[in-house]
Symmetry: C2
Subunit: 190 residues, 2 copies
């Protein structure tokens, strides 16, 4: 144990989400976040590279997706491996729906935060493509599957968050994958 309260990083993340929710991202200063977490501004920047990163700290989703897809038999078609991966993500999100809603409301209200979210998704796509290539999927199928997977995730996540009922994420993703197959087959996606 150190001489300080433990989990400074987590305290900063919690303080930031609260303040961003209460006043909005722009109306919050890093100094205020740090103060609420019992720290100084300088210490904030030792834990997070910038004012936005505090909402995007973990890499658990990317790790999970990569792990699950890497575990699927190589004989599985890329699109089916993707489906399994999305299924696994869906479970995790279902467990944290209120948190996801709160966080997404903050992000939706600010373009700078949306930019950061998009680059995180791009990084997810790159990791996914790497994993697929390691499984023997050739280019450009690996990149295409990865990009399309993230595209489906984006649309599905939006719908899952916006749903007034609390429908779980997995069936949403499954339906979208079916819709995608219909669209690329030249149908109207109905």
């Amino acid at each position: 144990m150190g001489r300080w309260e433990p989990n400074a990083r987590g305290r900063l993340a919690e303080a930031a989400l609260e303040l961003y929710s209460e006043r909005g991202f722009e109306q919050t200063t890093v100094a205020e976040i740090a103060k609420r977490a019992g720290l100084t501004e300088r210490t904030y920047f030792r834990h997070y590279a910038d004012k936005r990163e505090v909402l995007f700290g973990g890499s658990e989703l990317q790790d999970l997706l990569v792990e699950v897809i890497a575990g699927v038999p190589e004989s599985t078609a890329p699109i089916d491996a993707l489906a399994v991966g999305l299924e696994a993500l869906a479970e995790v999100f279902d467990e944290r729906r209120p948190f996801a809603r709160k966080r997404q409301a903050v992000i939706a209200a600010n373009p700078e935060l949306q930019e950061r979210e998009l680059i995180k998704l791009a990084s997810l796509s790159a990791a996914l493509a790497d994993t697929l290539r390691l499984r023997g999927v050739p280019e450009p199928a690996a990149s295409l599957t990865a990009e399309v997977g993230v595209a489906v995730f984006k649309v599905g996540f939006e719908r899952w968050i916006a749903a007034s009922d609390d429908r779980p994420m997995a069936p949403v993703m499954r339906e979208l994958l079916d819709g995608l197959k219909a669209v690329t087959a030249g149908g109207d996606g109905a």
Copy 2:
């Protein structure tokens, strides 16, 4: 005519691309860009909202894509309308390949610029989805087609820029669309 040199906005864009290329984005200050354009920092911020936006000023691509897709007969399947749109974009890019390479080199070297590029592509996707919906394409097909279209464009653009030969963009896009169809049909995308 005003009392100043014309096209201040264009001069700023040109000066910025030069400086970002020579020294890198971070090592360039807005004051330097303004000075090279014969203006002041304050005036820079009247033309561009921030230091990054100067590389992303136009909306010509989005306008072109929307216009072309809006002009395709409604009986055309969404995926085919998309193909026509990508074809039109390809022509424009082929005409500006050296500029596109220079600009993309700058963007590739800096994550902040990549973030901005990604949100511009997201805006493109949203506009595309709107256009498809206006043409009677239902949800979620409209959103999926739009997201997938941008995904294909991203992969294709990368390959087009990176190609050592100067292969035009249109066939690259066509091959990727075929690869996508194969992947979503459950194949290995070969």
